[in-house]
């Protein structure tokens, strides 16, 4: 059978879904890395089973799970998409794995004990995500975190045989490249502890800020701000945008061709971060004290921000000021009429 432990040289991946929306898999299918199946196969990734892609259903699918759980099939990577649902009252019955009568939580625990690596796909599996918002009715948590607190299903101390913690490909959803590149890197043995940030996220994308490459940067420079959805201005001052604090390369590695949240006209909600689901304020509004946003760009002293903002606002060109509150550019950049010097 595929993934037999005699196969060797392959990365056997089992992909399960629990308390999430399936959006990570749907995002993965939008990969522009050519033929997704061939890309993964070329990196040695053998998908033993994936709920959206594989042929096997019912008893055949369960046989794949069981063979991994009892060691008959080598399990290199367990991917979980969606949060672990522990409720009600710690029983895990809010998600009984279909056809088994057993909580998915128990399957995940059992399979993680056999896996050489565990990958949390998306913010739900990493930190709890939207499934743990509100009063967290299903008692959702991540594989190794509950929000930003280490713990989760597997516990803070859990490590893979080679020392890696759970790899948190956080994002709601993650960009297809983040998932493909993580699996390919694991297939090549090229992902070590130093390649993950403090929250277990691959630094390949998490060492950048969403702010980098934002096409609204000129508006940001002058604090020329949007007031309504569809305005072109900077979304930070009024619209809740967290791009200056959010770890991801969304504006340099675009989505679906030419997109990103900010290019789509709406705020970054920092969906790669633990706790993004409960910002403590309305998502699309910026909390302020005395007119100053309380969450300022990461690494920036508040006094400097306030001083620079006051200065740049007073220096805003008319073009930037007027375009910031329009839904398409009203004033084009000027053209120099004097001769070149």
């Amino acid at each position: 059978m595929p993934g037999d432990s005699s196969a060797g040289g392959r990365l056997n991946v089992l992909w399960l879904q629990s308390g999430g929306c399936g959006g990570c898999s749907m995002s993965l299918l939008g990969s522009k890395a050519g033929d997704l199946h061939r890309t993964l196969a070329g990196a040695g990734v053998e998908l033993l089973w994936h709920p959206s892609l594989s042929e096997a259903s019912g008893a055949e699918a369960l046989e794949v799970w069981r063979a991994c759980a009892d060691g008959r099939t080598r399990l290199d990577v367990l991917c979980l998409e969606g949060a672990v649902l522990r409720g009600p009252a710690g029983t895990g019955r809010f998600h009984l794995a279909a056809g088994t009568g057993e909580p998915m939580m128990a399957w995940v625990r059992r399979l993680a004990a056999r896996a050489r690596q565990v990958v949390a796909v998306g913010t739900c599996a990493a930190f709890g995500g939207m499934s743990s918002g509100g009063g967290n009715p299903a008692d959702a948590c991540g594989l190794q975190y509950e929000g930003d607190a280490p713990g989760g299903l597997l516990g803070a101390e859990w490590r893979a045989p080679d020392g890696l913690p759970v790899v948190n490909v956080a994002g709601c959803p993650p960009h297809p490249d983040w998932m493909v590149e993580t699996l390919v890197a694991l297939g090549m043995g090229a992902l070590g502890p130093a390649d993950l940030d403090r929250l277990g996220r691959p630094r390949a994308y998490a060492d950048q800020l969403v702010h980098h490459g934002c096409p609204r940067n000129e508006y940001y420079e002058f604090k020329a701000s949007a007031h309504r959805p569809s305005d072109l201005g900077c979304l930070m001052e009024n619209m809740g945008c967290k791009a200056t604090q959010a770890h991801a390369d969304c504006n340099t590695r675009l989505w679906n061709g030419s997109g990103s949240c900010l290019r789509g006209g709406f705020a970054c909600i920092d969906c790669t971060a633990p706790g993004f689901e409960e910002p403590g304020h309305p998502f699309a509004a910026t909390p302020k004290v005395a007119g100053i946003p309380i969450a300022l760009p990461i690494d920036m002293p508040k006094a400097w921000f306030v001083a620079l903002a006051a200065l740049s606002k007073s220096a805003t060109p008319r073009r930037v000021r007027e375009n910031a509150v329009a839904d398409h550019p009203l004033v084009p950049p000027g053209i120099r009429t004097a001769g070149r010097k």
Binding site: H95, M104, R263, G264, I269, P282, D327
Partner: protein, 480 residues
């Protein structure tokens, strides 16, 4: 009598389990279980109403835009706000792109691979179908995924990203289109049309959309050489296996109407059961007699509550049982086309009701009709004119958002008190189609569609898979 539990079903969205009571080689009764509960309706309570725009897309990763659209519409109705024409067109385009991608994903990745299974190894068409449609290994998956990814470029431009955009707002969309971007949208649609015409249909979309009865469809199928049309390949398989004989439910079809201005949508709303009736959303209620949820009586969703009761005796799913005036109705692309009056959809239903063949054909008929419509919507975009209207939400308000998602009618019912969400109820398409029994014992559409089905080894066993997947279920939506 033997009881068989089937699950997990893969190549559906989310987790699904079906229990079959089998006697004499046929299903006597089926019980459909949605085995996962997250509690979105609960976690929305107490939030700022506009936060619904961020939260509800995450009910579902496969139809997140439809969830966005329903929330935006519920908020717009609470605000008394109407989107400008551009905003409506852009929002329709984003929603249609999601539906088109869904229909494609369903056909190529979810549904067709079952015909490449060993159970059919003796059929004359098997080798060709296996080479083309086998899961992961077949030649079609790569082509379909590439066409789908290219189509979703439309999302990047109009919605920032997919899934989970925030571009759909109560007043329209947050992303205005510039003149050169309008051309990019047209080119994206043209590339998608080229894939459909070359590969899926092997014919012009307009000619597929013009097929007006089962005989015309059969003649069209026979005129396509082998290998020239994936749709024709399906129709040949369906003919050989007699798929029009399997998976019939109650044959009452509901659509809430789709695309275009309120009051005059492109696909009209209604209920069709051999005759067309107007849709009365006030007659919807949800029964929880067989769900792990506490309540006493069926309630209209505006008064609905969601309280888990995991130990409730007699319950077997987290899914509520929505009913329309007490009736079980089926929703989806076939229902939409039947209600809107497309002659081919009406003829297929007149012959065999909703079944495995007519549901899949209904989906591909819709796709052929949708893309030319999308081209017209792009052409109607007016750069320079507004895309989003402004409004304020009263502290006390209620709103309803009814939209057609790929899988059928989706409803959001919102109640705002003291500036916060007091009540939020969602009825998703699969909640209708995969509903359990109600207090009167009426089985839901899939439960009915499985009843009487021959089951056994080989081809008979895989029939269950065809029937289930003919509905293209989305389980994460079902119980949210």
């Amino acid at each position: 009598m033997k009881r068989v539990v089937v699950g997990p079903f893969n190549r559906v969205e989310g987790d699904l389990e079906v229990t079959l009571d089998v006697e004499g080689g046929a299903v006597r009764a089926a019980r459909v279980c949605s085995p996962m509960y997250r509690g979105f309706e609960q976690l929305l309570a107490g939030k700022t109403p506009l936060d619904a725009l961020t939260i509800v897309p995450r009910v579902c990763g496969i139809c997140s835009v439809a969830q966005s659209a329903a929330a935006a519409r519920a908020l717009a109705s609470a605000m008394g706000l109407e989107a400008p024409a551009n905003g409506r067109l852009a929002s329709d385009l984003v929603r249609a792109a999601e539906s088109a991608a869904d229909h494609l994903t369903h056909f190529y990745l979810f549904f067709m691979p079952d015909f490449a299974r060993e159970a059919y190894a003796r059929r004359p068409w098997f080798d060709a179908v296996q080479a083309r449609f086998q899961a992961v290994r077949g030649s079609a998956a790569a082509e379909a995924l590439e066409a789908r990814a290219r189509l979703l470029d439309l999302m990047g431009l109009l919605a920032g990203k997919w899934p989970h955009t925030l571009a759909l707002q109560p007043g329209g969309t947050s992303r205005a289109v510039l003149p050169h971007e309008k051309l990019q949208l047209l080119l994206t649609l043209r590339a998608f049309r080229a894939f459909l015409e070359r590969t899926l249909y092997g014919d012009a979309l307009e000619r597929v959309a013009a097929l007006d009865d089962a005989a015309a469809l059969a003649a069209w199928r026979d005129a396509r050489p082998a290998g020239a049309s994936d749709f024709a390949a399906f129709l040949r398989v369906a003919d050989d296996l007699g798929l029009e004989r399997y998976g019939r439910a109650h044959d009452a079809f509901m659509s809430v109407g789709a695309y275009g201005p309120d009051g005059a949508p492109w696909l009209a709303p209604g209920v069709y059961d051999g005759a067309l009736h107007p849709l009365d959303p006030a007659s919807i209620d949800e029964d929880v007699s067989h769900a792990w949820l506490a309540d006493d009586v069926p309630r209209h969703p505006a008064q609905g509550v969601t309280r888990p009761a995991p130990d409730k005796p007699g319950a077997y799913t987290w899914c509520k049982a929505p009913r329309l005036g007490g009736r079980v109705v089926e929703v989806g692309a076939l229902a939409r086309q039947v209600v809107a009056g497309h002659p081919l959809a009406r003829d297929l239903v007149a012959r065999g009701g909703g079944n495995v063949l007519s549901r899949v054909a209904g989906r591909l008929l819709e796709l052929a009709r949708l893309v030319p419509e999308m081209e017209r919507w792009v052409a109607a975009l007016a750069p320079g004119e507004p895309f989003c209207a402004d409004g304020a939400l009263p502290d006390e308000a209620s709103g309803v958002g009814l939209v057609e998602a790929a899988r059928g009618g989706l409803g959001h019912w919102l109640e705002v008190r003291g500036g916060r969400i007091h009540g939020y109820q969602i009825i998703a398409p699969t909640t209708w189609n995969f509903s359990p029994r109600d207090a009167g014992g009426q089985p839901g559409p899939l439960e009915q569609a499985l009843t009487g089905l021959p089951v056994g080894d080989g081809e008979a066993a895989v029939l269950v898979q065809h029937v289930v997947r003919s509905f293209d279920p989305c389980m994460v939506c079902t119980v949210h």
